[in-house]
Symmetry: C2
Subunit: 464 residues, 2 copies
C-alpha cells in the first residue's frame, strides 16, 4: 500500500469541509427533540459511503434509530474487515461552558494541536473518528488499492446504550461475518506516542437502598437508639475496601486475570508523570490498591466506586432528622475473566449479609458488561502495530483502558471475531464535555494510517 499522504494533501480541505458539514447536524440520540436530525445524519452517512466506493449501502431499520450498513466485496476468498462507528452524539449541556456553539464547528489552535483542532460536539466522539474510515475507504477505492473486503456498520444509539445494535447484530450474523473488527472510538497517549487500546474493563452497576425506621425521625428523641440508615450505609460502604484498598467481597478476585511480570513491565513503559497527573486534578496524591501503580489500578485491576449517595436533609441550613432511607449508586469496573453477572450476585449477597439488625437492605442491579482484551499476538493487533510503525515511525504501546465498551464483548460473542481499537483522539479532547475537539493533524493521520492496516492485515492473513 502506497502512502496516502499525497492523496490526503490534495484533498485535505475537502476532507475537513465534509466533516464540518456532518458536525453541523445535532444528532443527539438522548433527546427525542432531535429525532429528525439523527435520522438525517444516517442519510448523510449513507451517501458518504456510496461516494467513498461501497457497492451496497442500506439504511437498516431497527426498533430504535437506523443502522447504516455498507460493503464492498472484492473477492470472497480474501479477508473481510468490519468497521464499526456511531453517528449519534452526546447532548452538549452545559451549553454556557462552550466557547463556540457546539453545532457550529470552528478550527482553533491549542497547545496540543498546533495545526488546529475542530471544535464541535461529536468532532472526536465519534463522527470525526468514524469519518476517517470513510475517507480511508475513498482513498483505497479511488486509487485501486483496496486489498480486501470491507463492511461498515455505523449506528445511531451508542450514546444511549446501543440497544438496537444488539438487536441488529444477533439477527445479521451472516451479513456481518468478518475476520476482524476495526473501531476508532478511543484515544492514544500523545501525538508522538502512538498506542493501541488492547483491553477494556467490564462493569457491574448497582443501586442500594438501606431502610431503617418507617418514617423520618427527630434526631433528638431517637438519636442513638435506632439504626440511622445513613450511618449504617457509610459503615457498609466503607467496609467494602480493606486498609490496603482491596475489595472485601468474598470471591470478588477469584477470576481476575493475573498479568505476568513481563506484561506489567511492558505496561510500565508507557510514559507517566505522577506529578503532572496530580497537578491536573489538583490532588496531593493518588490513592488506590496497594501493590499496583496508578496505570495498573485503572486498567488491569477491578475497582469499586460510589457514583452517587444521598439520604436525609440535603437543603440549606440544618435539620435534625434521622432519615428513613439512604441510597447509593455503586459501580464496579471489572477485568478479564470476571463475569459481570456473577460479580453482581456476589455483591448483592455480600451487601445484604453485612446489614446490621434494625435495617433492611435492597440491592438493585442496573446493568453491566464483560471486560475485553485483545491479545497482542493476534493478526489484527500485529497489523495495527505495523500500520502505526509505517506512518508514525514508532511501534505503538499496547494500552489497557479503564473504561468499558460493552459492544466489544457483544461482537466477540455474536460475530466470533476480535476487535482492534485504533483511536486517534487525545484524553484532553474533552469528549462528553463542553468544547469537545479533534486535532486536524489527528484526523488526517488516522486517514493515513487506516489503509496501512488493511494492507498489513491482508498480508498476514493471506500468508497463512
Amino acid at each position: 500500500m502506497k502512502s496516502a499522504k499525497p492523496y490526503i494533501e490534495e484533498h485535505k480541505q475537502r476532507f475537513i469541509d465534509e466533516l464540518i458539514e456532518l458536525l453541523k447536524i445535532p444528532s443527539i440520540s438522548a433527546d427525542s427533540a432531535y429525532k429528525d436530525d439523527v435520522i438525517k445524519t444516517a442519510s448523510v452517512i449513507k451517501e458518504s459511503l456510496e461516494k467513498a466506493g461501497c457497492d451496497t449501502v442500506e439504511i437498516c431499520e431497527t426498533p430504535g434509530y437506523p443502522i447504516v450498513y455498507g460493503e464492498k466485496i472484492i473477492d470472497k476468498t480474501l479477508p473481510t474487515v468490519l468497521v464499526y462507528g456511531h453517528y449519534d452524539v452526546q447532548p452538549p449541556d452545559p451549553l454556557d461552558l462552550w466557547h463556540s456553539p457546539p453545532f457550529e464547528p470552528v478550527i482553533k489552535k491549542t497547545e496540543l494541536h498546533p495545526q488546529g483542532a475542530i471544535f464541535a460536539r461529536g468532532s472526536c466522539d465519534d463522527k470525526g473518528q468514524m469519518y476517517m474510515h470513510v475517507k480511508a475507504m475513498e482513498y483505497m477505492a479511488n486509487t485501486g488499492q483496496l486489498p480486501c473486503n470491507v463492511k461498515f456498520m455505523i449506528e445511531g444509539e451508542e450514546e444511549v446504550g446501543s440497544e438496537s445494535l444488539e438487536w441488529f447484530v444477533t439477527r445479521n450474523q451472516e451479513k456481518l461475518a468478518n475476520d476482524v473488527i476495526l473501531i476508532s472510538d478511543t484515544g492514544m497517549i500523545a501525538n508522538d506516542i502512538p498506542s493501541i487500546t488492547t483491553g477494556l474493563r467490564g462493569l457491574s452497576y448497582v443501586e442500594v437502598e438501606v431502610t431503617g425506621p418507617n418514617r423520618d425521625l427527630h434526631s433528638g428523641l431517637y438519636g442513638g437508639a435506632v439504626a440511622n440508615p445513613i450511618n449504617v450505609l457509610t459503615k457498609m460502604v466503607a467496609s467494602l475496601h480493606d486498609e490496603n484498598n482491596h475489595i472485601t467481597i468474598p470471591g470478588f478476585y477469584d477470576d481476575v486475570e493475573i498479568l505476568s511480570t513481563e506484561e506489567r513491565a511492558k505496561m510500565a513503559e508507557a510514559p507517566f508523570s505522577k506529578e503532572v497527573y496530580c497537578k491536573a486534578l489538583d490532588i496531593e496524591d493518588t490513592y488506590g490498591e496497594a501493590g499496583y501503580t496508578t496505570n495498573e489500578r485503572n486498567s488491569i485491576r477491578p475497582t469499586l466506586d460510589v457514583n452517587g449517595i444521598w439520604g436525609g436533609y440535603i437543603g440549606e441550613g440544618a435539620k435534625t432528622v434521622i432519615a428513613s432511607k439512604a441510597y447509593a449508586k455503586i459501580s464496579m469496573r471489572l477485568v478479564p475473566d470476571q463475569d459481570w453477572k456473577k460479580i453482581t450476585q456476589l455483591f448483592k449477597d455480600h451487601f445484604e449479609s453485612i446489614a446490621p439488625k434494625g435495617v433492611k437492605v435492597e440491592v438493585k442491579p442496573h446493568h453491566g458488561g464483560q471486560a475485553y482484551v485483545t491479545p497482542i499476538d493476534s493478526d489484527g493487533y500485529q497489523a495495527a502495530s505495523k500500520a502505526y510503525e509505517n506512518t508514525f515511525g514508532k511501534t505503538p504501546i499496547p494500552q489497557r483502558s479503564g473504561g468499558s465498551i460493552p459492544i466489544v464483548a457483544l461482537f466477540e460473542k455474536e460475530l466470533k471475531s476480535k476487535t482492534i481499537l485504533m483511536g486517534f483522539g487525545l484524553d484532553s479532547d474533552a469528549i462528553h464535555s463542553p468544547n469537545e475537539h479533534f486535532g486536524v493533524w489527528n484526523y488526517l493521520k488516522g486517514i493515513e494510517t487506516i489503509p496501512q492496516f488493511y494492507s498489513e492485515f491482508t498480508k498476514l492473513k493471506t500468508a497463512k
Copy 2:
C-alpha cells in the same frame, strides 16, 4: 389552692372555643408570606393575657417578631414565676397528608384520646400548651387565689431559632427577674403515667465537605486511581463509631456526666416495651451504644448522627462518575457537662486529621447549644411533682429527653434561674408533622395542674 375542676367544668366549652380561634391563625414564622398572621397572633395573645388578669401587657418589638410580655405583681416579697411559651407554629407541609386542613381545627376521638383531641397545626406545639397557662392564670385571678407574682414571655420565633428572644432576654434581665421558669413545650409518658422532663441534650451541628479531584471524572478512566470523595467520606464517617458504637473522637466523652447506679435504676422504672417500640417504627431491633438501654441511649448518652448526605449522581438510572465533592450534615446530641463549642472543635480537629491524602476536608460548624438538667431536689421540681400528685394522684417520673431546647440553657445563663418543663402532650401527638393534635383531656388537665404548681412553689419558697 382549691381544685380548679369545678371552674374548668363550668368554662370548658369557652376554653376550647378560645383555643380553636387561636389555632385558626396561620402564624407560620418560617414563611414571610404569613407575616401579618404572626403579628396578629401576638395581638390576640396580648388581649387574652389582659382578660386573664395581667395588670400590664406589652407587645415588645424586637429585630424579628414581637414578644408578648405580661405580668401581675401582687407583692414584691413573694416569689415570681416566669411563664415562657411561643405563639408561632411550624409550616404545615406536606399538606396532602393532613386529614383535615391544618388551620381549620376539628375535634376527633383517637385511641389515646377517647375524649377527643383538637387537630390543628400548633394545637400541641405550642399554642395549646401555652394557652393552658393563660387559662390557669384566669382561674387563679378570677377566684382570688393567685399566690405569687407571675410574668409571661410569649415569643414568635421558636420554630425558627429564637434569635430575637436571646436579644430580648439579654436586654431585659431586670424585667424578667424570677424565681423559677415554667414551660409547657414537651410531653409526658402517658395520660396515666405523668412525667416531668428534667434533662435536655445539647447539640453541635456541623456540615462537612470532602473534595477530591477538581472536577467530576469518568469512573472508568480514573476509578481505582484517585481518592473518590464519596468512598472517602463513608470511610471517615464510619470510623466515627467503633464496634461498640462508642464515638471515637478523642476527648469526646471527657466531660460526660456519669450517672450513679441509683439514678439509672430510677430511670429504668419508666415503662418501656422494646417490642412496641420496634413495632411502631417497623424495625427488627434497636441499635446503639453497648452497655446502655434504649432509654439511656437517647437521653443520658451523647450521640452522633448523620442527618443528611449527598454527592455524585443521584438522578434516575446510572452515571459512571467520580464526583469532585461529597457532603454530609452531622449532628451530635450532647449531655451535661459537655460544652458544645469544645465538642465542635474536637470534631473539626479529628475529622480533618483522619482525611487521607488525595482529598481536602472542610468542617463548617452550623449551630449548637448546651445540655441542661434540672435537679430533682430543687424547689421548682418538688413543687411540680406535688402539683401532679394533687391532680393525677400519682408521683410523676423524672425523665430526661433526648431533644434540645437551647433557650433553657440561655435562661439559666442570663436569668440565673431553673426551668421546670411541665409538658402535657404525648409523643404520638405528631408535633412538626401532619395531623398534629392535642388531647382535650390533656388541655384541661394542664389547666387544672398548673395552679397547683403556683401554690406548692409559693409554699416551699415562703416556708424558708
